[in-house]
């Protein structure tokens, strides 16, 4: 719950931003401040995770390898909806055996898929109980109490990348000011038709 991952789509669904904090901590000790919690499943998918660290890493890497396997087996990539459903199914099956305590945000960009317009970005909010929702913006963890209100006010469908940068900065500033847990650094990744890149922010320099 003290971990945070948030994300949103922008510019009429032409890009998606997924961000997460960089702290790896247990109890009162912080192990490292440069943990990357936004995994790149492939060149067109981002998976941000929040929650229990071992489950987060084990599950997201499992998903990453299965997504890669699908591409090898079938010669084509899974689209974002299919990936979200695959993730949801894995979580749902594990739920009543040995649940993964991990909340996820899946951001993806699709072309040549029957469900999406070309180069359409989408964001899926998947919680640890395995419910999946397609959303315009989302946030996991206690941080959602702060960030969702900012998104409600400031997000609109025509965000440019520069405006997205400002929005992310606003969210981070709010957390660093008002959230009890110290989150000094964030990973912020943008996915658009040119691929995945890090969004440079003042906080990370």
């Amino acid at each position: 719950m003290t971990d945070c991952t948030f994300g949103f789509v922008g510019q009429k669904h032409k890009f998606v931003v997924v961000a997460a904090d960089r702290s790896a901590a247990r109890s009162i000790v912080v192990f490292k401040q440069d943990e990357d919690k936004v995994l790149e499943l492939d060149a067109s998918k981002l998976l941000g995770s929040a929650g229990s660290a071992p489950d987060g890493v084990a599950f997201t890497e499992f998903i990453q390898k299965n997504v890669a396997l699908y591409e090898i087996d079938n010669g084509t990539r899974l689209d974002t909806f299919a990936t979200a459903n695959f993730i949801r199914n894995e979580l749902a099956q594990a739920l009543r055996r040995g649940p993964y305590q991990t909340n996820l945000l899946l951001g993806g960009l699709d072309r040549e898929s029957p469900l999406y317009a070309d180069d359409e970005a989408s964001l899926y909010y998947i919680d640890y109980l395995a419910s999946s929702n397609k959303v315009n913006f989302g946030c996991h963890g206690y941080a959602s109490n702060f960030i969702l209100s900012i998104f409600d006010k400031e997000w609109h469908p025509d965000l440019t990348v520069d405006q997205a940068k400002d929005l992310v900065q606003k969210c981070i500033d709010e957390l660093q000011k008002r959230f009890l847990i110290n989150l000094p650094a964030f990973t912020v990744k943008v996915l658009d038709k040119d691929g995945i890149r890090n969004l440079p922010l003042a906080a990370n320099e």
Partner: protein, 204 residues
């Protein structure tokens, strides 16, 4: 808070004269926080059978996939469409299979028989069915829903009257429940087809 109230739901199915309507809210929340306002809880099983799942959202999605599979298998093997009563029995069986580790949903089934007569069924989370002739409700505000339906339901309503009644019942009930609301969708099933409409309600 009970696990059935983790996500929040409200749904009604009502019978009219040769028509049924099924309506549900569209809120998806995690306890007090609302996450999405377009979460589908009512699903088309066949042209004449709709089912609504109220309860834990993950089980709503799991059950939807499981039932779609069972129904498709049935239609492939039997080469015919499943009747609403058979579907309700199937659902009851699927739920009871998990008697000691249940799906946390309380479904309602609304359908039209082959002779056009309405079929309504409500179930608890382990599949105990109740077959009604007037209305069935499910969700986090069932006292509200039951009260509204008791007041506004009357026999032999036309599809338009049925739509009006079910909509007013749902909107009034969810307005007094924090965990449900944030949008609603109504499906009216008649022998000529299904009309689906989204309701404009309070988004709080």
């Amino acid at each position: 808070m009970s696990i059935m109230e983790h996500n929040g739901a409200a749904m009604i199915a009502m019978a009219g004269a040769d028509c049924v309507a099924i309506a549900a809210d569209t809120r998806f929340g995690l306890r007090q926080q609302t996450v999405a306002v377009d979460f589908e809880k009512v699903f088309r099983m066949t042209d004449k059978t709709y089912v609504g799942f109220g309860g834990l959202a993950t089980d709503v999605q799991t059950l939807r996939a499981a039932l779609r599979f069972r129904l498709s298998t049935y239609e492939l093997k039997e080469e015919r469409v499943m009747k609403p009563k058979a579907f309700a029995n199937l659902l009851s069986h699927v739920l009871y299979e998990k008697r000691f580790g249940p799906y946390f949903v309380e479904p309602i089934v609304a359908g039209l028989d082959d002779d056009g007569k309405p079929f309504l069924c409500g179930m608890d989370l382990i599949g105990a069915p109740v077959f009604c002739g007037d209305y069935v409700v499910s969700g986090t505000c069932t006292p509200n829903l039951n009260g509204m339906c008791e007041a506004l339901w009357r026999p032999d309503m036309t599809p338009d009257e049925l739509f009006e009644a079910i909509s007013q019942c749902l909107l009034a009930s969810v307005d007094r429940d924090a965990l449900s609301g944030w949008g609603a969708i109504v499906h009216v099933i008649t022998k000529d087809g299904v009309t689906s409409k989204r309701l404009k309600g309070r988004m709080d």
